[in-house]
Amino acid sequence: MAGINIKSLTKHFGAVQVLNDIDLTIERGEFVVFLGGSGCGKSTLLRMIAGLETITSGEIWIGGKRVDQLPPGERGVSMVFQSYALYPHMTVRDNMSFGLKNIKTPKHEIARRIEEAAKILEMPHLLDRKPSALSGGQRQRVAIGRAIVREPDVFLFDEPLSNLDAGLRTRTRVELAQLHERLGATMVFVTHDQVEAMTLADRIVLLNNKKIEQVATPVEIYTRPATRYVAQFVGSPGMNFINIAGLDEAGGLATATLPDGSVIKTAVALNGLSNSGLTLGIRPEHLVVTTAEKGDIGGQVETIERLGDRSLVHVRLKDGSKIIGTDPGMTTITTGSPIAFAVEATKVSIFDEKDAAHHSVN
């Protein structure tokens, strides 16, 4: 097992810059997820670690060895591709032993590793089949098995769950987490799906526009997003963003006045906030339905989505802007009726004109 060190990594495809001066350290045994929208460079970054893309400038170190000029086979990495990339004419067993044979691993060692991987992935009965005789999920396992037998320093996953149907995706997600537990391996996982990221990652690397927006644990990414982009990327339904009309002070903390007249107390330090271009951010689960007297913000109910364990209430404010709040359980609120939400002050974030986030002081 080894950690990964990325220093000042930049990548151009011809004249187009795709990644700009990336610095990142991944600890041994960590499960790191590269998360981002399409085109943000996460797959490119992964492939550069694998050696499938060249780097324009910078350095990549794996386990204390500099690898950015080495061919893929010599970096001590294994990769699981989105399309599995199994060798179609070889049996599962041959698929898994191909790489080991190339580096002259002794036969009994190859057999032992295959047997163990097959046991872990519950597929010993598949070893003599060809990929065309396997289901999508089974091919997935073979791809993972092929990665495991190499006993690499780092496992790389390039959106491996995207081609699976929804039910299989959830199950495989759990199995991947268990695999990480069991092997204790360093794993780098690329996805655009924030649920996968939130559930699997020890830390999330959120990429946007050629740069890293934030590197943090899922909890931190969720509760204290570094930028507005991170805040709106993670969480479903997304965070509410409301323009701030004016700012006041209460004990060193900011109090925001919104265009519809509501006054929201926050726990964000007033110091360091500019006067204009500010946005207030609050997640729907922190807007709780309450009575008109106890409410901080309110309007008229437009739509209600009853999800079973909670209901999402879409509300139209006095000034026309819309927010989403929650009510536990199957709400009895009706559309068209007036409604008020209580805002948890400590959960309010303020985003400045540069979209950087300011969170509550505690």
């Binding site: 060249t54 324009t56 000029q69 061919p71």
Partner: protein
Amino acid sequence: MDKSKSAGRAGYYLYMIPGVLGFVLIVLVPLIANFAISFTTWKGGVIPPRYVGFENYQRLLHDAAFWGSIQHTLLFIISMTIVPIILGLVLAAVLFDYISAQFSQTWSSFFRAGFYLPQILPLTAAGVLWAWILNPIGIINAVLKAIGLDFMAKNWLGDATYALWAVSAVIVWVQVGYCLVVFMSGLARVDPSLYEAAELDNASWFARFRAITIPMLMPEIFVVALTTLIAALKVFAPIYVLTSGGPDNATTVPSYLSYYHFFTTNRVGYAAAIATLQTVMTIILGIVFLRMQSKQAEGGH
């Protein structure tokens, strides 16, 4: 910059070495040598070639046999390209659209295999066969006599008036199969609902042919046209076997003419000039054709 990538690419260049080496040795060098020889007089033996400038080309311009060969080539374009394509299209449409539906797939495949059979023969074997059939005392004339059309029996290959047509007929016989097979496989990728829609619109078979079959087969038509065109310009074996370019140069083509001068009269420089001109013509025609094709593809249909 991208150091490892160009290092990576360099490795692949090695794979092209045998192929490119072969190409240089067997195509490029001889082509250039041939071009050079065309400016000389040479008997091909130990006496070295003598530079004569454009003399060979000038003489060619006055050589009736040469101009005749060009004319005949143009005619063979009709019999090797145009006629087979038309026949091939019609046959393909009939077999694919009509026979398959009205009878069965097997009939269709049976006909296709039958029409394709001439394609696979060595041209020389086909030539021997047809020379025998077209012989003045051969089968065609025997058949004509038997059904009372005595007066139509001719010396098909020995008479200058008919030789060209006889050779053309043989060429059509050989080529139709190729066009047929290519067009039929092209039709397989046409959406059948187009035909069904046309049928609902009361389109006759011919209307469907014109409005659907031909436009949808444009890629195949271009490929077939190009390949048969090049083959027509290079045609050699049938002429050699059937008529040896005769009678009286009535069926000669540039290929045969240059062969004749290379190895029979040993006027190597002259022959090289013919071959060079032939190459230039073919390449020009090829480029023109390819341009036409890409313009067609761009413009869409």
